[in-house]
Subunit: 130 residues, 2 copies
DNA sequence: GTCTTGTTTCGACAGCTGTCGATACAGCGA
DNA sequence: TCGCTGTATCGACAGCTGTCGAAACAAGAC
């Protein structure tokens, strides 16, 4: 069976803790921590926010870039950004007037590797490479 | 506050659901669907249930194998299994007295690939064209 | 200084979620 | 048939979540 170039465990310290959950039962503490991250991803607005930030030029986006595409109010966007930040999925920094957010790739990689299902790897279309 | 109209890619494309979200903004519909799956993962008990099922011999587990390790009641386990099933993450079947659950690897793979964060994302040049 | 703009926090509210005990349903064995 | 065991559903309830408008805070412009 072919093996793609997948994020390898131990690639960095954040991912080291998370082997695919299909290999061994998750511990209770690990489950609690991971559930918090998945909960941050469990809202459509936050999911779109995350992808907007990640796909933005330079890999970061100003809040002012993020309020436009949504139907919800600006305080609500701010709230969702806070949730993403507290879950460790994004980082933020104020630069003058604006506040910028960027994705923390290690966090996404951690969740991604956790969900890797060996039996399914062969059925996944060959990566995102264009 | 919401007059901005940014181009959103992938709203009509099936691939939008499976390519890394760091490459292009998630469409609204795709985000709603994916959020449901992540919501199913956003509870520690469900996360552990999923890993217990996946790591069980034969890749499937009877409900009777799943109630033991948890402090919650049997109806609660049944409820969580239902959530996982309705999210499309597991399948189930009754065989005589017992009901068996198994993980649907394609669903995990879908989420896993979505979260894949290429290391390059952090170093994309600011002037990069799309 | 004052004003303007960008962002966060606050307080409130409806709706959803996880949990339970009680109960109903499904098979099996005696 | 009856009873037993395994599983799902029901009804209820406390607590959490997403949302808003109003207000506060931060930084720059005038």
């Amino acid at each position: 069976m072919s093996n793609l170039e997948l994020p390898v465990l131990g690639q960095d310290d954040a991912a080291a803790c998370c082997s695919p959950m299909v290999r061994e039962p998750l511990g209770e503490e690990a489950a609690v921590e991971l559930a918090k991250m998945f909960k941050a991803l469990s809202d459509p607005v936050r999911l779109r926010l995350l992808s907007l930030i990640a796909s933005h030029e330079g890999g970061e986006a100003c809040v002012c870039d993020l309020t436009g595409p949504f139907d919800v109010s600006q305080p609500t966007i701010s709230h969702h950004l806070k949730v993403l930040r507290e879950a460790g999925l994004v980082g933020s920094e104020r630069r003058g007037t604006w506040v910028y957010y960027w994705v923390l790739p290690a966090a996404l990689a951690k969740l991604s590797s956790l969900l890797q299902a060996p039996a399914a790897i062969a059925t996944v279309p060959a990566g995102g490479a264009r």
